[in-house]
């Protein structure tokens, strides 16, 4: 099933010069062209290239068509089902797995970027052993590369000590959130071997309060599976269900699907009305029909007031004072919730107290939502009996820990500052760390063991709804690495060592007969049927005590909110350049993080965007750059985690600030104070102007209404027909939530280079599809608009190219011919949509082998001095056409799916053939909401938009 091991260099279709001359061909061509131009008359013959065939043709065949392997992308322990697309044996692109509950075919930015994580040149590739222990952090540790067998030998000795029944040496295992049945079974076996062995879980982003909320309400931990498709009214309190948690993509998908009727202009069939009370701007809030920005304490006040309508037992004393600022919002909300009844859904998020979370659960129950718009399940990551990080720190402090194994976690970086983790870790007598990178923790460890990437290993993990998901390798490990399961097997001295065997053993249990078919079907589907967690039966929720209204009586203290960075997440993606250069949805900030402040708060503190401020949380303080954001709640300062890595790699080191240094505990919020320092910080942003200046670029319509059809202009010339196919794209702005998945998908598919902070600051970001954010009103409502190339039928860019490097083809594509481009850049000047990107310098990395291996062989890697832009994934169009021509079957709608379209979690992007009367894009163009951007210029764009629908009561 998985391809035969082979180094990409030995690929028959990867052409390169002899090892001797380590230059890439493009440089040679350029050099030759240059030398010709410079009339260099030296008659050196062109370089003779070599080709390396397979030794044995792999099962997969030598063809150049992509092969997809159903596997999973694992983040925070949860599986997101994906299809790993390999070209010539190399994973180059990830698509969503349509049959996976968390994906339904869509992906988010991290899943899209995960393929680059696999090829990350800074990945840990060898076992490292520390020879002598450094007295303190300042001494550089003496480290030698070692081998797995050496480690195993060393481990055996300790293991025997641990096995001693009379309280042998203590063993502690620290993992991130763990849902993999195989790994948990192996871990259990390991812990069973020694009486004084214990497991600790460290989830830097886990919301402790939410878990406690479950205890308060039902006396147990629960996790919620949300069903947006069944909801008629959704209230998100300090939560962003469209981007937080493993179910985010599914939520967006369900919500979008449920709006279909509304979008068709029909009656408001199942479209949910979304209410957001958020402390910091999120994708859900931006898309909500009604949104208010409030500090967590005021959000809780709101919650209690709203809950009181359904819970007579809540006394007026508990309700507290009304909040005039949100009166209208509140009224609308209550009405909407009433109307929705059991189809209502209330979601609580990070920053709320445990009591508030409990109240949210109780309210949902009272509304009848439980079992309908949300089901409660046993948390797949729940680790009963496992200790917390705090427990571990205590244990370490007491010096009773002989051996500590840190598996796939990086506490030395992402633990709260209060724990002073580096010091604590040094107290362990033997510290073993296993991870993808030689990170902050690895540098403290006595042994560092390189782990395999998800796409290199056999494994399993659970989806947000508990469905078991299988991981299968799309390529054999690039380095001598082990999967977590294989490592645990080694640690526990399991007779089986091969990941494939381990996972099979796990799932063979009770499936002796028919296992092979079961296995094949499960692999093909990517998930194991019928493994979704069963809904919990819960008794009536207990009403939590109302905390003293100290929060309501807000002091001058700010509330610091610790949130995952939209790109770097908890720091595990910090070394991923695609993500670092990805504009954060609201600030359009790249290669950085910033402390977000509300406008009034900023005014009060005399802080402007770019000012460096000193933040004080408890006894920790840090100087960070501030960003004033209209959408941000007042009295709240948002601190994105995951940046400021010290040992992430060549990309992630020292990007932004490390907010963990301010965390007093694992809680996600804390009181903070702030004052300006008077110094300034330079940000690199991709969009300066958020106002549309009255230009209707992003247009909105009332529900059921349509836009006036702009009448066609008089034409001077006869049109050029597209006789066979006429490709076009339609983007539904009512569906777009601005999640950026398309941007990264495009970057992965089309070999788009990253340029770095300095170049982004100079306006040279290369993304082919950029997401413009427009302020829709002064209240801070945001609209997102993906802008790829418009493929204008009357393209201004083509007219001005002196060498015909950008021209039209007979299918209506505005093609950019890189090898003809001389780089006058007139096309970009003449492009009204400014979608063209230029290689001002040599951006494409021509030297790093692993990065070259990630590239899509179907797309030219652009040289310095060449213009590029969205090509409608012409390589995918070509692949479909060539298949049709070879097999003789005509192309049908859906045969060509662009990378952005495939990734979109709300199916906002349609691509197809205008000559095909039944095509999706044709129907989209017929919609009354359809319009072309800057239509007055009469460029006749092939990429057009469907207007966003305004909330019903604003129409």
């Amino acid at each position: 099933m998985h391809p035969h091991p082979h180094d990409p260099d030995d690929d028959p279709h990867v052409i390169h010069i002899d090892r001797g001359a380590g230059v890439n061909r493009r440089q040679v061509l350029a050099a030759m062209a240059a030398s010709m131009a410079l009339a260099n008359t030296a008659c050196s013959p062109p370089p003779r290239l070599q080709a390396h065939p397979y030794v044995d043709l792999p099962e997969a065949g030598g063809g150049n068509l992509p092969l997809y392997y159903a596997s999973a992308f694992v983040r925070d322990g949860f599986a997101h089902g994906v299809l790993v697309g390999t070209q010539e044996g190399r994973p180059v692109k990830v698509e969503g797995n349509p049959s996976h509950p968390s994906s339904l075919g869509a992906t988010d930015v991290h899943a899209q970027a995960s393929v680059l994580q696999l090829w990350d040149p800074d990945r840990s590739s060898v076992v490292r052993q520390r020879l002598a222990r450094a007295g303190d952090a300042r001494e550089p540790p003496q480290v030698a590369s070692s081998t797995w067998s050496a480690f195993e030998a060393a481990w055996r000795e300790r293991a025997d000590a641990q096995a001693d029944p009379q309280g042998g040496a203590t063993l502690r295992v620290l993992t991130g959130p763990l849902t993999s049945p195989t790994e948990r079974a192996l871990l259990a076996a390991l812990l069973a071997r020694g009486p004084r062995a214990r497991w600790h879980v460290h989830a830097p982003l886990a919301d402790v309060a939410a878990a406690d909320g479950g205890w308060l309400a039902f006396g147990r931990v629960v996790s919620q599976v949300l069903h947006f498709d069944r909801a008629r009214c959704v209230l998100a309190l300090a939560a962003d269900p469209f981007s937080d948690g493993p179910g985010a993509v599914r939520h967006a998908m369900d919500w979008s699907a449920a709006r279909a009727a509304l979008r068709e202009g029909g009656a408001d069939a199942h479209a949910a009305s979304l209410f957001a009370a958020e402390a910091t701007p999120g994708l859900f809030g931006a898309r909500a029909d009604h949104r208010v920005a409030l500090s967590p304490s005021r959000i809780e006040g709101l919650l209690w007031r709203v809950a009181a309508h359904w819970m007579p037992e809540i006394t007026p004393a508990d309700v507290g004072l009304a909040d005039p600022a949100v009166a209208t919002f509140e009224a609308r909300l209550v009405a909407a919730l009433r109307e929705a009844g059991p189809a209502a859904l209330v979601i609580g998020g990070a920053g709320l107290s445990a009591e508030a979370h409990a109240l949210v659960l109780a309210l949902n129950q009272r509304l009848g939502a439980i079992g309908r718009t949300l089901t409660l399940i046993d948390p797949p990551e729940a680790a009963p009996g496992a200790g917390t990080l705090a427990d571990l720190v205590d244990a370490l402090g007491s010096g009773t820990v002989d051996t500590l194994v840190v598996l796939g976690a990086n506490p030395a970086y992402d633990a709260p500052a209060a724990f002073d983790m580096p010091r604590a870790l040094r107290r362990a007598k033997l510290l073993v760390h296993a991870g993808l990178h030689v990170d902050e923790t690895a540098l403290l460890a006595d042994w560092h063991l390189p782990l395999s990437h998800a796409y290199e290993q056999w494994g399993d993990a659970r989806a947000h709804d508990g469905s078991a998901t299988l991981l299968q390798p799309a390529i054999t490990p690039l380095y001598d690495t082990r999967s977590a399961a294989e490592l645990l097997a080694l640690l526990s001295g399991d007779p089986l060592r091969d990941g494939h065997a381990l996972v099979q053993r796990q799932w063979r249990a009770g499936r002796a007969e028919g296992f092979d078919t079961f296995w094949r079907d499960s692999l093909r589907a990517g998930t194991i049927a019928g493994t979704a967690s069963a809904p919990l039966e819960v008794r009536g929720a207990r009403l939590p005590p109302r905390l003293a209204l100290q929060a309501a009586a807000a002091t001058t203290m700010l509330t610091a909110l610790f949130v995952p960075d939209a790109a770097a997440h908890d720091g595990s993606f910090a070394n991923n350049p695609w993500l670092q250069e990805l504009p954060r949805p609201f600030t359009k900030l790249t290669w950085d993080n910033a402390a977000l402040l509300g406008p009034a708060t900023a005014r009060r503190l005399g802080v402007a965007t770019g000012d460096i401020v000193r933040l004080q949380v408890d006894r920790h303080s840090l100087e960070v750059p501030a960003w004033v954001l209209a959408q941000q709640a007042e009295d709240v300062v948002t601190l994105p985690l995951g940046c400021g890595r010290r040992h992430a790699g060549r990309v992630g080191d020292g990007v932004g600030f490390d907010a963990n240094a301010l965390r007093p505990s694992t809680a996600l919020s804390a009181p903070a104070t702030l004052q300006a320092t008077g110094r300034r910080h330079a940000f690199a942003v991709t969009q300066q102007e958020m106002s549309q200046h009255g230009r209707e670029l992003l247009r909105t319509v009332a529900a059921g209404a349509g836009l006036p059809r702009d009448k066609p202009h008089e034409q001077l010339y006869p049109p050029f027909p597209s006789p066979v196919h006429a490709w076009a794209m339609a983007i539904d702005l009512d569906a777009c939530i601005g999640c950026n998945a398309c941007t990264i998908a495009c970057q992965a598919e089309n070999n788009i280079p990253v340029v770095g902070k300095a170049e982004v600051a100079r306006g040279r970001a290369m993304h082919w599809i950029r997401i413009d954010r427009h302020d829709l009103d002064d209240a801070g409502a945001s609209g997102f608009q993906p802008v790829p190339c418009m493929h204008c039928e009357q393209a201004p860019c083509e007219l001005v190219c002196p060498v015909g490097a950008t021209v039209h083809d007979s299918e209506g594509l505005n093609v950019q011919v890189y090898n003809r481009c001389v780089g006058t850049r007139f096309c970009s000047n003449n492009c009204p949509y400014k979608v063209r990107r230029f290689n001002f310098l040599q951006y494409a990395d021509a030297t790093t082998e692993t990065l070259k291996a990630q590239r899509n062989p179907e797309v030219t890697v652009r040289q310095r001095g060449v213009m590029e832009k969205c090509s409608y994934c012409v390589q995918r169009v070509a692949r479909a056409r060539q298949h049709a021509e070879r097999t003789g079957q005509p192309l049908v709608d859906g045969d060509v799916v662009t990378a952005c379209q495939a990734a979109c979690p709300t199916r906002a992007i349609q691509f197809g053939d205008l000559n095909d009367a039944g095509s999706q894009v044709r129907q989209a163009r017929a919609s009354p909401r359809h319009y072309a951007m800057l239509a007055e210029l009469d460029t006749k764009p092939r990429t057009t938009y469907l207007a966003r629908i305004r909330p019903v009561d604003e129409a």
């Binding site: 008359t41 080709a51 065949g61 030598g62 594509l813 011919v817 090898n819 390589q875």
Partner: protein
């Protein structure tokens, strides 16, 4: 004062001017020659194993597809893997010193490093499968491989040359049955146009679109 230039001086000047003109012409010719040299037409190329198409195709009559397995299904015709060679040479001539490298490769698992004969710049996306499906025979671009002791490039593989065919494909088509025959003659025009119709080739405009070959 006497004249600046004696008749002899004039002669010298004339010669100098002539030489200068000659130099210009020479430079132009040099560049033309260099461009041609790049193609290396008809130049046999030394290979680590002196593989003879003449022997395998011409004498033994082995079909192209026996080694170039993906030519009908993929963009690349596919170089035969070591295993394919061993398919015969595990028995035949196994002790030939010439084949030592082959057995080494099989043993070590390291591929044989062949010298490329047909190379396209990597901004050109040529698809064997489609061309074969449309009736472009191997011999059309690769020449009489069955007469090459060591393979060489038979056609320039320059854009101009590609366009010649893309503009008038009918003149280069053969019936599917004869595509892999080296000595198949081009069918008469009537048949050719019939073939073109059956292959329903796209319009000349489509076939000369930049996006047909470049991405």
């Amino acid at each position: 004062m006497s004249a600046v230039f004696s008749p002899r001086a004039v002669l010298v000047v004339r010669l100098a001017v002539l030489a200068l003109l000659g130099l210009c012409v020479a430079t132009v010719l040099l560049f033309v020659w260099r461009a041609r040299a790049y193609e290396r037409l008809g130049e046999p190329i030394a290979q680590p194993i002196p593989f003879s198409h003449k022997h395998h195709v011409g004498d033994d009559g082995i079909d192209c597809r026996y080694c170039h397995t993906t030519v009908e299904t993929a963009a690349h015709a596919g170089l035969p893997s070591t295993a394919v060679c061993l398919g015969c040479h595990a028995q035949l001539f196994r002790d030939q010193p010439l084949l030592a490298l082959l057995h080494q490769s099989a043993a070590s698992g390291r591929p044989i490093a062949w010298q490329r004969v047909h190379v396209l710049p990597d901004f050109v996306y040529f698809n064997h499968a489609v061309h074969v499906a449309k009736g472009v025979a191997c011999v059309e671009c690769h020449g009489r491989v069955d007469q090459m002791p060591l393979a060489w490039r038979a056609r320039p593989l320059q854009m101009q040359w590609c366009l010649d065919c893309h503009r008038n494909p009918a003149a280069h088509l053969r019936p599917a049955s004869r595509e892999f025959a080296m000595d198949a003659p081009l069918p008469p025009p009537a048949v050719a146009s019939q073939l073109a119709r059956e292959a329903h080739l796209e319009s000349e405009r489509r076939m000369t679109d930049c996006s047909t070959c470049h991405r």
